[in-house]
Symmetry: C2
Subunit: 77 residues, 2 copies
């Protein structure tokens, strides 16, 4: 299982950037080259991003993958 701080990081940017239009789900999606639905699904935890998308998001927020995504070990079952 992998958890993520995508929404948290995005909302952080919304606060500090003041130009709020730059950090909507829609804008984020465009900037990393996916659909808005994909951003929603990842923020919600419906599924994990691909490794490539994880890299793009990390680059955009200027952090390492490990600062957005945390591997919690095997799921139960």
């Amino acid at each position: 299982m992998i958890t993520n701080r995508l929404r948290e990081l995005r909302e952080q940017q919304l606060r500090i950037t003041s130009d709020s239009t730059q950090w909507t789900q829609e804008e984020l999606a465009v900037r990393v080259g996916v659909s808005r639905q994909t951003i929603i699904a990842i923020e919600k935890g419906t599924y994990n991003p691909s490794l490539e998308l994880a890299f793009k998001l990390a680059n955009l927020f200027d952090v390492k993958i490990e600062e957005i995504f945390t591997y919690m070990g095997e799921a139960n079952g």
Copy 2:
């Protein structure tokens, strides 16, 4: 495009560990919970691992994801 040093890291272990049976493609596959074909495909660059598999591999080799996988930017086309 994402490049990886999986084969390189695995062969490094083969050299230093001396117990060579621990670092075959088959054993590596078992240890991260995928099939041998998946390891072959990733070493060869046929496709990228999922984020989860990338984490498992990084954990096994005791390195960060960025030390195995390198994001090279957008593919041409």
